[in-house]
Symmetry: C2
């Protein structure tokens, strides 16, 4: 029996939309979720704008089993993710006592003033659970099915490592990649027929263009190993017919 678990992602930050920072978190989350059998079904990149964040959070938390956000949880005025997620849930956003204690002890030990800005990093919706941050200490948090994490890739990745063991995993989507030396125009017709004949699989066709030549990567996916093998065999037979 197969189980489908779905996820979505919200990347928060003006700097991504302006091109100043190139996102490196989407691909990482996609890789990790695929590896553990969770389907990432939608990603949204939104500005540092409360209304935009609230809309994305409320739409996607109703639609997918898990939501992952990156960005906007630092100490500056443009870090509004904690407030926005709290508003999406209709919860007050307050300084979390445990996070305050954690940060206070850390800054005291380093002889650094625990400023009001730094205290902002302890704010989260009432009732949220911490997501530990082994890199720079200030925690992310989980509220409901929404996981709120940092945008700095090293911190995001470390936080995600802490989240993964808590996720229910779907039946892993198996996949096999078949190299196709032809462009999509050559194989598009027969490939469509193979897809129709193998409804338990998802057959993707990804055009590649390099040095003036087109080739195609064909990827067959299924949660059923036998269905996968049957569809893969059909694809390879089709390709052999074209080269032979």
């Amino acid at each position: 029996m197969t189980q489908t678990v779905t996820a979505s992602m919200i990347v928060i930050g003006d700097e991504i939309l302006s091109g100043r920072t190139k996102d490196r978190n989407i691909g990482h989350l996609a890789d990790i979720l695929t590896a553990i059998g969770i389907d990432l079904v939608e990603v949204r990149i939104v500005a540092d704008d409360e209304a935009a964040i609230v809309e994305a959070v409320n739409t996607l938390r109703a639609r997918t089993d898990y939501v992952f956000t990156t960005g906007g949880i630092g100490p500056t005025h443009d870090d509004i993710t904690a407030d926005s997620v709290s508003r999406a849930f209709g919860l007050p956003c307050e300084h979390d006592a445990r996070a305050l204690a954690l940060l206070a002890a850390n800054y005291a030990g380093r002889g650094i003033e625990f400023t009001e800005a730094r205290r902002r990093m302890a704010r989260m919706p009432v009732g949220a659970e911490h997501i530990d941050n082994p890199v720079s200490l200030a925690p992310g948090f989980r509220i409901g099915n929404v996981h709120v994490m940092a945008g700095v890739p090293a911190i995001f990745q470390a936080m995600l490592d802490n989240v993964v063991p808590t996720l229910k995993s779907g039946t892993k989507l198996l996949s096999v990649s078949v190299h196709c030396p032809f462009g999509e125009g050559t194989i598009g017709g027969p490939l469509g027929d193979i897809q129709k004949a193998h409804p338990d699989t998802i057959i993707g066709s990804y055009p590649k263009y390099q040095d003036g030549t087109f080739w195609t990567e064909l990827v067959v996916r299924s949660r059923d190993g036998e269905a996968l093998a049957r569809a893969e065999a059909a694809v390879r037979e089709m390709l052999a017919g074209l080269t032979g």
Copy 2:
């Protein structure tokens, strides 16, 4: 007088959501739009799924001046962008006569069969205008304010070059970057005060983490050069006070 022109982007493709392909088009579009004074306000990555594409197209074309899509316009069964965009507009999706003639002549000249799959690449909503494709010929298209382009980066970039001269441009957002040797916790409080005192600017704070050290890139943006200069001076004065 300033004019704001907004845009959104829809990246279409299972291969991005699975992590198999890492998107390279979002950052490129963001850079180009910023350079010509158009604000990219939202990006969505959706699956090769008609309902998902229709929803994204209809939401975003109502919300922003321009919509740009990438992916799903090739010749295979999983290329459903033309059909989905047509459905979003309530228009029939048909083989475009000029696109068919263009492709037919090209394939005839190269002695390649003009298969039904290849003919799919000439399909678009009735009334759409071509977006020329100098790389592999099969055109993208524009319908209403939606620009439908290829997912292969070399082709996307070439198509976008052809679209840019047709866009109305906003007043360019000016920006200046100020290196801040401190972490966000140190400057978060005073920076928030500067933002409040300079409402005609957008002050962004982007934490950087490298080799165990935090620093911050501060970016001041404005459509008004004098307002920008005043806010930049305030930021530099604040930083000088911290180092002095």
